[in-house]
Amino acid sequence: MMETARSFRTVARLTLPCAFGMVPLGIAFGVLVVQSGLAWWWAPAFGGLIYAGSLEFLLLAAATAATPVSPAAVAVTTLLVNGRHVFYCLTFPLHRVAGPLARAYGMFALIDEAYALTSVPPGRDLSGPQLIAMQILLQTYWVGGGVLGATVGGAVAAHLPDLSWVLTGLFAVLATEAVRALRSARVPLYALGCALVAWLVAPGQFLLVAMGLFVAGTVGAAAYGERAAVRDA
């Protein structure tokens, strides 16, 4: 029992920076839901069923726009905005999660923050139950913020300091740790190059293009290295 409490505290501490970023963002989403003329419970409906921050903002705008948006446009937008998630399976330790329901949830709730926290130590070494607890906490921050924003609304938002930067800070920390783990400047420099190309050539699809270029480049380099190793052997 003590053990369980301690391991949950570890998870809660790990997700704390995410709470500071995700709760205010969730509140902003909830406020927007009621401002768009929807009932408050649409905020948890979006966060509970789709659960993809930036996409939810886009879809809320699409769903409440004066001119209806076609289902095909919604599908393409979803594919493009969330396409980057296909890469997360390469490092997310889903194999530690047991049971079909828990595994399904682990995949459903694999947002950027969940991927990022589990990519570098100490989050990389979480057990299966800890992984799921971490993901449930993250979704609680987002959906809870949404409910708060949609019900108590502007009254709460007005008294909060602007914490929008915290999420950037979290990714800055995680990027620093990931680069440190590699002990090489080549990978982040190559990633910066990919980002620059995507930023110039395809700003509308920045994340997908930058990540696609990065993955293609590393796969190519790794495959070439593998061939060279076989040839030299």
């Binding site: 920076p17 069923l49 998630h85 990714f171």
Partner: protein
């Protein structure tokens, strides 16, 4: 007043696609994990993807300069420096947030 049916239809399209994008790659991930190339890529991926996500947050692809851009950059620089030096996530983020709130 937006029609609830339209909102429900949007969710009904977006939710399964989002889940599929996250779940389907895992059906080949177990086989991928055994491949040497995938192991190399998996090791390099976090540093690369995290760098790209950070650029995305700091330099919006909309090509507009945010009003609090200087505050964001300064806060990020402080956070990266502190994290490199002390390696305490909460300390780094708290210091960065303080810088952000003071400057913006």
């Amino acid at each position: 007043m937006p029609e609830p049916a339209r909102v429900a239809a949007v969710i009904a399209v977006a939710a399964p696609i989002t889940f599929a994008l996250r779940a389907l790659p895992f059906t080949i991930a177990s086989r991928l994990r055994e491949a040497r190339v995938a192991q190399v890529v998996g090791r390099l991926l976090p540093a690369g993807l995290m760098t790209i996500l950070l650029v995305y947050l700091l330099c919006p692809p909309s090509h507009t300069v945010p009003a609090d851009w200087i505050a964001q950059l300064a806060a990020t620089a402080v956070t990266v420096a502190l994290q490199t030096w002390r390696r305490s996530t909460l300390l780094s983020i708290a210091a960065g947030t303080t810088v952000f709130l003071l400057l913006h």
